[in-house]
């Protein structure tokens, strides 16, 4: 999708917004990868738990975005299952974003109320926030995909 950006800019405003939002999600995931490289080897188990949930949320949301985009691309052919699959993916994106929110708040609460050094806590907290922001971006992609699907159906 990113590769075709130059072709769709100016041609379809909705598609352009979809691509922009995916690019934003990629930026957040790249930032997360950078921060992950700074996380100490020994992360306390109580911080690993929300971090694992956030990482899983990032993977599930990315997969849902890819699956939803693939299904939405088939909608013009007129098969009901394509619409259902695309909307189901949108539902997953929004659900995952809520789960990521909860995990990020759990992480914040544990760090704020626990006894950690800044050096050990900061990269973990920043990583959690970057992962959460990536699911935010992907949820926004989901909302835009929803609009795109409805527009296709109305056309």
């Amino acid at each position: 999708m990113i590769e075709t950006r130059s072709e769709i800019v100016g041609a379809d405003r909705n598609l352009e917004r979809l691509v922009t939002e995916i690019e934003n999600a990629i930026d957040e995931l790249e930032q997360a990868a950078f921060l992950a490289s700074l996380v100490p080897l020994e992360v306390p188990p109580e911080l690993l738990e929300p971090l694992a949930d956030l990482s899983a949320a990032g993977v599930v949301a990315t997969e849902a975005a890819a699956a939803g985009a693939a299904a939405a691309g088939e909608i013009p052919a007129g098969h009901h299952a394509d619409t259902e699959d695309a909307l189901a993916a949108v539902g997953r994106l929004i659900e995952v974003e809520h789960k990521a929110d909860a995990a990020e708040r759990r992480m914040t609460a544990r760090i704020m109320t626990g006894e950690y050094t800044i050096k050990s806590a900061l990269p973990v907290l920043e990583l959690a926030r970057a992962l959460e922001r990536s699911t935010d971006r992907l949820a926004t992609f989901g909302h835009l995909l929803h609009e795109h699907v409805l527009a296709d159906l109305a056309a």
Binding site: E63, A64, A66, A67, A70, G73, E74, A81, D82, D85
Partner: protein
């Protein structure tokens, strides 16, 4: 010369002399209640009959493939070559006695260009889908079209060098899609040459091109 069904609701067991040792053992596992992927087997006797030019046996193979694919589609609730929920098939060969390294396998049969989109929808993983396509083209081209495996290795190694990577596992989705397109050119070119110089049976040509998608 009935085809054998394994897995799903079937718990029937078959002698190795009829379906090959590999299939016989998988059927035995299914009969014991162990989870095995659904499968169907064209009996060994069909192979020698087809090689001997038995027209009825060839018709049995065609019918068996059609019925067997229907069985897999029903068991998996997916459709062969479908662009939304494709079923992929690993085609194995077998014999009553183990013949290590001598029997061919074609992986990911049904992974047509259209089915790739379905795989992305099912898994959300475009890299996996493109890798399946590459593996299908490699094994199909190498086994059925007799393309020298070196031709595939050469293209893969050239792409690895261009991308500055050391392993195919590091290819991203876009690189794998490019590799698949290069493989398609290899396979199709070879298939055309094969068709012109050696094949006279039109239905065989059609089967080969259909499988390539």
């Amino acid at each position: 010369m009935q085809i054998a069904y394994i897995g799903s609701d079937s718990t029937q067991q078959y002698p190795a002399e009829v379906v090959g040792s590999k299939a016989a053992n998988v059927a035995r596992m299914a009969a014991l209640g162990l989870p095995v992927p659904p499968a169907f087997v064209l009996p060994i006797s069909l192979c020698s009959a087809v090689v001997n030019g038995d027209a009825a046996a060839l018709e049995s193979v065609r019918r068996g493939l059609t019925d067997g694919i229907k069985f897999l589609e029903k068991a998996t609730r997916k459709t062969f070559g479908d662009r939304s929920r494709p079923v992929l098939v690993s085609v194995r060969s077998g014999a009553a006695r183990s013949m290590p390294g001598m029997l061919d396998t074609v992986l990911d049969v049904g992974c047509t260009a259209a089915a790739i989109r379905g795989l992305v929808r099912m898994t959300g993983n475009p890299t996996f889908a493109a890798d399946c396509r590459c593996r299908f083209l490699e094994s199909y081209g190498g086994t059925l079209l007799a393309i020298d495996r070196a031709a595939f290795n050469e293209k893969r190694n050239a792409l690895l060098a261009a991308e500055r990577l050391t392993s195919r596992r590091n290819f991203d989705c876009e690189a794998l899609e490019r590799l698949a397109r290069q493989y398609e050119q290899t396979s199709r070119m070879k298939a055309r040459c094969w068709a012109i110089t050696r094949l006279t049976n039109l239905s065989q040509q059609r089967t080969r091109f259909t499988a390539l998608g």
